[in-house]
């Protein structure tokens, strides 16, 4: 009849008390299990999303941060000008690209060139890139410094004919560059592989007010053009953007593709730098060729010209490297710049989950508190009822440690049963409830829908950041009974039970058998 046998005898022979304890622990345990299950689901889902997230990182200027440093300073833009923010240069990009976490990196210089002969592709005549007759059309040139375009590497884009750049084409030189255009644009303009096209910066004569910009046929008349700063390009490949089978005109991706293929072209970075530099020179010399006074606001400005900023793209070896990469790359950034990643694609679900997390945090804390309070009270009351029994053990010379162990075991054996039941019930309830709560939350936040989403640096360089639909997010929400969740619950549940026996233990330790028995 050792203390272990005493504990089991007590559990079995006093079924009423056992059932009360069991029910209480079960109810409290269900609430705790539910809350822990939701917390587990949130971290599951977060991990799910991160695993599926493309591990692409870029660098953006932190405009807010920059504005803060200029706060309080006054610039009239005539005699005083704000300084140039520090630029993100190719050297920065190379240093960060050399980190072990990075599998692939590129930097992108964007340029805008024009042509009177070529037209952007218009889908069924519905996209308005036409412009007026006699005006040039504009094209977006996206530079690269690697022989595999990141968009191709990411599977967003395919080269359907021809090839990508060769190393020799990526090296600056000559007055001719390779270019990759969309198949749709090529067909629209009757261009074949290896055709050449020429794109320009048109530098115009200023008007009588010194204005360099204008519109209409007159403005664009031949003799109004001071210089045609051009570059000849040989088409080495056609790209296309494949769409899923169920993507139709009602889908965001459809219109993203149309915008992309209509006028976006890919060239080596050096071509853009070259043509842009020649344009700067032409803009400098145009004033010598005319009588018009250069407006004062144009001639003044910050002393040194800004270094050219580039848009980098880093693809990490693995999505899970993100945090480590951030830590390693942040010290290498120029001032007032920050790393951005694609986690904004699931901003919607993140904020909904944060709400859910707050609620479940509170439920967890309150229910643990309630468990401690109620259980210690209940066990103390039960022990008061058993003070003669405790007195007998003490009078028989039993060690207090063993009596405490006996009580602990009685409570624990019952609690393990109750907690095991509550794992399943709590999980079941919480998976229903948390899913319902999440759907509600997400729908409430859909008012700020994806047409109004923030335009990110990734959109600018053609990496889609479409936010997930509510259905996709709900699919990612995974309430699973992982070994970790269950383990955590047992630890928290049994921990609370053990803590709850502290007060009763004090009662036993201070019990005076003489008073009870004699």
């Amino acid at each position: 009849m050792n203390f272990f046998k005493r504990a089991t005898t007590s559990i079995v022979r006093r079924p009423g008390k056992t059932v009360i304890l069991l029910l209480l622990v079960f109810i409290l345990g269900t609430v705790i299990a539910g809350a822990i299950s939701v917390e587990g689901a949130i971290s599951n889902t977060d991990a799910n999303l991160r695993r599926n997230m493309q591990p692409i990182v870029s660098i953006e200027m932190n405009h807010q941060d920059w504005a803060n440093t200029l706060e309080g300073e006054y610039f009239d833009w005539i005699t005083t000008f704000p300084p140039h923010p520090p630029a993100l240069t190719v050297d920065h990009v190379r240093a960060i690209g050399a980190l072990d976490y990075v599998g692939f990196y590129d930097y992108i210089i964007e340029g805008w060139l024009q042509s009177f002969d070529l037209s952007p592709y218009t889908a069924d005549g519905r996209t308005g890139f036409g412009g007026m007759d006699g005006e040039p059309r504009s094209f977006t040139l996206r530079g690269t410094s690697t022989h595999e375009l990141v968009q191709v590497e990411q599977g967003i884009m395919e080269v359907v004919q021809g090839r990508q750049f060769e190393e020799s084409e990526l090296v600056a030189g000559g007055d001719r560059s390779a270019i990759i255009v969309s198949e749709a644009f090529a067909n629209y303009n009757n261009l074949a592989l290896h055709s050449t096209i020429t794109l320009y910066h048109f530098v115009m004569f200023p008007d009588e007010d010194g204005e360099l910009w204008g519109w209409g046929t007159d403005w664009w008349a031949d003799d109004n053009i001071y210089a045609r700063v051009g570059m000849e390009f040989e088409i080495i490949g056609f790209y296309d953007i494949p769409l899923g089978p169920d993507v139709d005109e009602n889908h965001q991706d459809y219109w993203d593709r149309v915008t992309h293929v209509s006028s976006t072209m890919y060239v080596p970075n050096w071509a853009i730098e070259d043509v842009d530099a020649r344009r700067e020179a032409a803009l400098g010399s145009v004033w010598d060729a005319v009588d018009v006074e250069q407006p004062e606001w144009m001639t003044h400005g910050p002393e040194e010209a800004p270094e050219r900023s580039v848009t980098p793209l880093f693809r990490l070896e693995d999505p899970t490297y993100l945090d480590d990469f951030r830590a390693a790359a942040t010290p290498l950034l120029p001032d007032h710049h920050m790393l951005v990643d694609l986690s904004s694609t699931f901003d919607g679900i993140s904020s909904s989950m944060a709400t859910l997390q707050t609620i479940s945090d509170w439920i967890l804390y309150v229910s643990i508190g309630a468990t401690l309070l109620i259980l210690s009270l209940l066990i103390t009351l039960f022990l008061r009822d058993r003070r003669y029994e405790m007195g007998v053990y003490l009078a028989l010379g039993e060690k207090k440690g063993k009596i405490i162990t006996q009580i602990l075991m009685e409570v624990l054996v019952t609690s393990v049963v109750a907690i095991t039941l509550s794992v399943f019930v709590g999980h079941l309830l919480s998976s229903q409830m948390s899913r319902a709560m999440l759907i509600n939350q997400l729908q409430a936040e859909q008012s700020d829908d994806h047409w109004n989403r923030d335009w990110t640096i990734f959109d600018q360089i053609g990496i889609p950041t479409n936010q997930m639909s509510v259905d996709e997010m709900i699919d990612a929400f995974e309430v699973s009974l992982g070994i970790e969740t269950v383990g955590l619950f047992y630890i928290i549940g049994l921990g609370a039970v053990v803590l709850s026996t502290l007060v009763p233990v004090v009662y036993v330790v201070t019990l005076n058998p003489k008073k009870v028995l004699m």
Binding site: N2, A395, E398, L517, M518
Partner: protein, 224 residues
């Protein structure tokens, strides 16, 4: 040779401002093979005395020696109770949800004294010897009569193979017939089994059967 010696023991209660003395420098010796009675009026301090020699409380002065060792300082109260004494209370103090045999076995599992390995059969034999048949031994004790419960309590006190049996009004809740039987058992333990039995009572009839009587009055043992 006294197995238990009480030397100049003092005990009192704080009663408001002044201390009320219950035991005033008393001494006594208790021997194996003898049935001792401690006789006194209600409130004379009999239970107090028993709680001291059973180490459920500590004297405010003096010493209590078991085999010449101080029970509190040398042996330790808990260990003394566990290994050297068996106690019988007026209110039996059995564990209500356990059977008679289990109650006996609780004590057997607590003591560190050498006992036969087969705990259960020792308990049954002991109970049987003291008048609790096998079917009653397997009943939870709240289904036994007062006399039967007190027998179980005596069996529990004996089960740990101790020499010293201390009983506080063991027949206080029993009718005369039962009282006689219990007193006989206790007397037998002293005379047949060489135990040292100390019984606290206010009954002159019980005291009359004792080998040694200590009369407690005014905090002193009166010579008898």
């Amino acid at each position: 040779m006294a197995i238990l010696e009480v030397v100049n023991v003092q005990y009192g209660f704080q009663d408001g401002e002044n201390k009320r003395v219950i035991l005033d420098n008393i001494s006594a010796g208790f021997e194996k093979g003898k049935f001792h009675a401690i006789l006194g009026d209600s409130g004379s301090g009999k239970t107090t005395f028993l709680s001291l020699i059973s180490a459920l409380d500590k004297p405010h002065g003096g010493q209590i020696l078991f085999e010449n060792k101080d029970i509190n300082r040398d042996i330790g109260a808990e260990k003394y109770r566990r290994n050297h004494i068996g106690m019988v209370f007026q209110a039996y103090n059995l564990i209500p949800f356990m059977t008679a045999a289990e109650n006996v076995r609780v004590a057997m599992s607590i003591t560190e004294n050498d006992l036969p390995a087969d705990e259960a059969s020792v308990a049954y034999n002991l109970l049987d010897h003291i008048g609790i048949t096998r079917d009653k031994a397997d009943r939870t004790v709240n289904k036994l009569s007062g006399g039967e419960q007190q027998r179980v309590a005596i069996a529990r006190a004996l089960s740990t193979n101790v020499d010293l049996i201390l009983a506080d009004e063991p027949t206080g809740n029993l009718n005369e017939e039962m009282e006689a039987e219990i007193v006989n058992i206790l007397k037998n333990l002293a005379h047949e089994h060489d135990k040292c039995v100390v019984v606290v009572t206010h009954s002159k009839d019980i005291a009359a059967q004792a080998d040694v009587i200590f009369k407690l009055k005014g905090g002193q043992f009166l010579d008898e």
